[in-house]
């Protein structure tokens, strides 16, 4: 690994940190337009974070140290995940140490810390949110792993850059197995990021919320880190989708200024399209009952397994 690769590595993480709030802003804007509302500013998530970082933090009296550590761990996990996913270049030094299975493990670790922190204060909402989050997680996590396995069987590796480079090399069209797993992936993405058919990011109605219920007790900088981590998670999932299904424009060699000139606009265009697509999905679908979520995710899991079977049967 050359120094230039380490620069790529840091650049990717920094880009994710910077772009994640904007991406959420863009998604909210698209949603507002589609719903005939006046759109909030693209920079609103930034202002929100800025505001939270300058407020006094209130922590519940019986919160343990775990409660204060969790936001940093969750945030750190998401930043690290951004460094493993090849969003601009595939020459990432960190990827040697963490492949796609470790990436899913990283997401699981973040989830675990978040749910434990939610249970720490001991309010009814916290445990309710934790329970629901684990219900979503235990089906979404295997579905995501199965989606990744389809791509890794095609490219004989579980390292994401190898997968991306193989899929981008052109002799793989959109194979039927990948089509199945793409459907599964979209369902997982919606569920994992608390988007509309599963959870409503705009509501504080207790009976339906999942993610918001878990971060209820957080305030100020801790809340800011949690929110930023959630934005990063959405960004990371979208980038995993690009890496598996739309790997075009990602620099496969040592990245240089010329490579960046292609990679950054390509990523921006893909992100804009993804935001619009997500907004459309969220606008045309309605929030479902909590106990319907396992059916939704079970469908995703089965689609992913089907993708794997199709790959084994057709070798495609």
């Amino acid at each position: 690994m050359k120094p230039v690769d380490w620069i790529t590595q840091v650049l990717e993480m920094a880009a994710a940190l910077a772009a994640a709030p904007v991406f959420l802003g863009w998604l909210n804007q698209c949603r507002a337009w589609l719903q005939n509302r006046r759109a909030p500013s693209l920079w609103l998530p930034y202002r929100n974070l800025h505001k939270l970082f300058h407020k006094e933090a209130v922590i519940a009296e019986n919160a343990s140290p775990l409660f204060r550590i969790a936001p940093y761990v969750v945030f750190g996990a998401m930043v690290l995940a951004a460094g493993i996913i090849p969003s601009m270049g595939t020459r990432l030094p960190l990827v040697v140490s963490a492949d796609a299975i470790a990436l899913v493990g990283l997401f699981a670790a973040a989830r675990m810390f978040m749910t434990l922190a939610a249970m720490d204060v001991g309010t009814a909402f916290g445990t309710l949110g934790a329970r629901r989050e684990m219900m979503v997680g235990f089906l979404a996590e295997p579905a995501l792993l199965m989606v990744i396995f389809v791509a890794s069987l095609i490219s004989s590796s579980t390292a994401l850059p190898v997968i991306t480079a193989h899929l981008a090399s052109g002799h793989v069209g959109l194979s039927p197995s990948l089509a199945f797993s793409a459907v599964a992936f979209i369902l997982v993405l919606l569920a994992e990021n608390a988007r509309i058919p599963v959870d409503n990011p705009a509501t504080h109605l207790e009976l339906t919320m999942i993610h918001e219920a878990m971060v209820l007790e957080y305030s100020a900088r801790h809340l800011a880190l949690m929110e930023w981590a959630a934005q990063l998670k959405l960004f990371n999932y979208v980038c995993i989708g690009f890496a598996l299904f739309f790997p075009w424009g990602v620099a496969t060699g040592h990245i240089g200024p010329a490579g960046l000139l292609v990679a950054i606009p390509a990523l921006a265009v893909k992100l804009a399209a993804a935001g619009l697509g997500l907004a459309v999905i969220e606008t045309v679908s309605a929030k479902m009952r909590v106990m319907r979520i396992p059916e939704f995710l079970g469908t995703a899991f089965l689609f992913a397994v089907l993708g794997l079977l199709v790959h084994v049967l057709l070798k495609a």
């Binding site: 970082f53 300058h54 407020k55 006094e56 933090a57 209130v58 922590i59 519940a60 009296e61 019986n62 343990s64 940093y72 945030f75 996990a77 930043v79 690290l80 040697v96 140490s97 963490a98 492949d99 299975i101 470790a102 493990g105 699981a108 670790a109 675990m112 749910t115 434990l116 249970m119 204060v121 001991g122 309010t123 009814a124 909402f125 916290g126 445990t127 309710l128 329970r131 629901r132 684990m134 219900m135 235990f138 996590e141 295997p142 792993l145 396995f149 890794s152 590796s157 579980t158 390292a159 190898v162 504080h204 209820l216 007790e217 900088r221 992913a304 397994v305 794997l308 079977l309 084994v312």
Partner: protein, 671 residues
């Protein structure tokens, strides 16, 4: 003779004998907790450490030592052998028993059923017999040690024999263990292949027809599967493991289950020679079923030790699925991949031994501090018992399979070997394997659910009972025991390449291929032949720590406000009490709802006008009603039928003898 004594094996045997002596010493002052509990258990722990050192040295040297001891019946000496496979499991026994014994030294108290001195004897006999199982090189020695192991653990399970449920659990354990032992007896009978020599050496040399070999394999699978808690032979495990005192539960879950794995590997991959690939399907499918079954039941438990027992069932499923996969690959002429699958299996055995012992000991401390095993009456213990809580957190994260801890490494290895399934030459299995992979992954994710429930309800939140305010942290010896096991979890997670290196001798012995070291770096695990995949937990941990610390630093830099403590927000609802948190039943509700057909649920719901409403829900396994109860009734009927010829009068019995003699005479005359 004396000059050629093999050093390591002799040392191991001496340590096992010393364990027995330590146990016997407990009888000197059986009532003294100070002597039997503190001193002798600590001494036993040191012996365990010595065993781990000797076995580790043997494992690293990769050599084999043999010894014949002229004990027992004339012309039937005891054959012992220390090869890489037994070294590995001896190391596991020594290393985890060190932590457990040190903990036990601080754990046992007066007035808990059996006297401490007697407990000490049973405990150390149990340890020594497990060592005997691992060292035996003939069927006699193996089965004798196996029986001593079963009996000593039976007495340990029934320590609190005044409680009827515990006596029942002990009886069930004894029954199932003997069903298994009978199968093993038959299995060794088949394995000697007409030579009537019961040394393992002769069994390796015997040439069995494929049919008989398959019978032997199946018998071994039933026999060892009953010990390991493979579905549907698992019914004793969730009763027996929680009934024992916590250090014994730890020993049973952490170590005794591994002797079953050892036996399965010894028979399936060593004594039977080259296995046929389709034998592997049985452990693979049973293992996959066990994973799913165990974890789903673990998610709905309300007793913390039962929850861990079901989680052990799940983990043994994972191990047996790994064994099945190893045999499928080895029988299909893919030794390198078979070595990878075997590596995952062995690694998981080591991991589970440390993680599950740690968790069981943690529940032991909680049990002593609070007197409660029901999750619904615990909570908030992280404030009262910080040592136990933080050390248990390591075990919790490890068993949930999170990087960079040890549970992740073995799951990673297992998934990597599953990913090779597409290259198998059997089309049917190729279709089966993705489903298996899906089950493994689903099991791992559900294990996360179970562990959040376990940890969150015991240690986090508000105390659900007022009595919990008096809970105290564990003592010094207990802390050392927990710390040792937690450090083991960390070390196994952070230095996988060194562990894989040490395990190379075992894979070489069993499937004839060591895992190639594709990586040039000591911190990077890249065991997959011909593929560019790798995992570096140290870099992973360093990167995570760096990012987290940088975040803390930057946040401190820009954040100028102070932090204030206040009452919990809870959406502004002021009247929240500790009883409004989720109970164990509540947290398991989604799983109960989703997998309803698996359970037999008995609900006790209050009437609408009830002044003191009570809500109770009991979950049983359907397998009891579908299989075991009809079986028990059938056995009862058979026994009743047989009882008809028992008249209780001496003349009738004399008549029976007379008739038998006549029949025998007739047979002799005719032939």
């Amino acid at each position: 003779m004396i000059t050629t004594l093999p050093p390591l094996l002799t040392g191991c045997v001496a340590l096992l004998c010393a364990w027995v002596l330590v146990g016997l010493a407990g009888l000197l002052r059986p009532g003294s907790v100070r002597f039997a509990g503190r001193t002798l258990f600590t001494l036993g722990a040191v012996l365990g450490l010595g065993l781990a050192v000797l076995a580790g040295a043997s494992l690293l040297s990769g050599g084999t030592e043999r010894l014949i001891l002229p004990l027992g019946l004339p012309n039937l000496p005891v054959h012992l052998r220390l090869d890489p496979l037994s070294s590995l499991f001896l190391f596991l026994l020594g290393a985890s028993s060190f932590g457990i014994s040190v903990f036990a030294g601080g754990y046992f108290r007066q007035g808990e059923g059996t006297l401490p001195g007697l407990l000490c004897l049973q405990y150390h006999l149990f340890l020594a017999s497990m060592g005997g199982v691992l060292l035996a090189n003939d069927a006699y020695g193996f089965l004798v040690a196996w029986e001593v192991m079963t009996l000593s653990s039976y007495f340990l399970v029934t320590t609190q024999h005044r409680i009827p449920e515990i006596r029942r659990a002990g009886f069930l354990y004894l029954l199932m263990a003997h069903v298994g032992a009978l199968c093993l007896l038959l299995c060794f009978g088949v394995l000697q292949g007409g030579s009537w020599l019961f040394t393992f050496h002769a069994m390796r040399a015997a040439h069995l027809s494929p049919g008989w070999a398959a019978v032997a394999f199946l018998l071994a699978l039933i026999g060892f599967g009953a010990k390991a808690g493979l579905v549907p032979l698992h019914v004793w495990l969730p009763d027996a493991h929680p009934a024992a005192p916590s250090p014994v539960s730890a020993l049973m879950s952490g170590v005794m289950l591994k002797t079953a794995v050892y036996g399965m590997l010894r028979v399936g991959l060593d004594l039977l020679g080259r296995p046929l690939w389709w034998w592997g399907l049985a452990p693979l499918i049973l293992g996959l079923l066990t994973i799913f079954y165990g974890v789903v039941f673990a998610a709905v438990q309300t007793d913390m030790k039962r929850l861990l027992a079901y989680s052990s069932i799940e983990n043994m499923g994972l191990v047996f699925a790994g064994i099945g996969l190893t045999i499928v690959f080895a029988g299909s002429g893919m030794p390198a991949v078979a070595a990878l699958a075997l590596l995952a299996t062995l690694y998981h055995c080591l991991n589970h031994s440390f993680m599950k012992s740690l968790l069981f000991l943690g529940t032991g401390s909680v049990l002593h501090a609070t007197g409660e095993r029901n999750l619904g009456r615990l909570g908030g213990l992280i404030h009262r018992m910080p040592w136990v809580a933080w050390l248990t957190l390591i075990g919790t994260l490890a068993i949930a399979g999170l990087p960079p801890l040890n549970g992740f490494v073995s799951e990673w290895l297992l998934l990597q070997s599953f990913l090779f399934a597409g290259q198998l030459p059997h089309a049917f299995v190729n279709l089966l394997i993705p489903m298996g992979m899906a089950l493994v992954v689903l099991g791992a994710a559900l294990a996360g659910y179970v562990m959040v429930k376990f940890y969150g309800i015991i240690f986090l939140g508000q105390p659900r009972e007022t009595s919990l305010a008096h809970a105290h942290d564990c003592g010094r010896l207990e802390r050392i025991g927990l710390l040792w096991l937690a450090l083991g979890c960390l070390a196994l997670g952070l230095f996988p390449l060194q562990v894989v290196h040490a395990l190379g001798a075992v894979t070489g012995q069993l499937v004839g291929a060591a895992v190639p070291q594709a990586s040039a770096h000591w911190w990077l695990l890249a065991p997959v032949p011909g593929r560019s995949v790798s995992y570096g937990p140290l870099v992973f941990l360093t990167a995570t720590a760096a990012v987290v610390l940088l975040t803390v630093f930057v946040v401190r830099l820009i954040y100028r406000q102070r932090v204030r403590r206040g009452p919990a927000w809870d959406c502004g609802f002021g009247a929240a009490t500790a009883r409004m948190q989720d109970t164990a039943e509540g947290f398991g509700q989604p799983i109960r709802h989703l997998f309803q057909p698996f359970f037999e649920i008995e609900r006790e719901l209050p009437e609408p006008a009830d002044r003191t409403p009570r809500y109770r829900i009991a979950i049983r396994e359907r397998i009891w009603r579908l299989a075991y109860e009809p079986l028990a009734r059938a056995v009862g009927r058979l026994a009743n039928a047989a009882a008809r010829i028992q008249q209780g009068r001496i003349s009738v019995y004399l008549l029976y003898s007379f008739v038998t003699l006549l029949v025998l005479l007739a047979v002799a005359l005719i032939s």
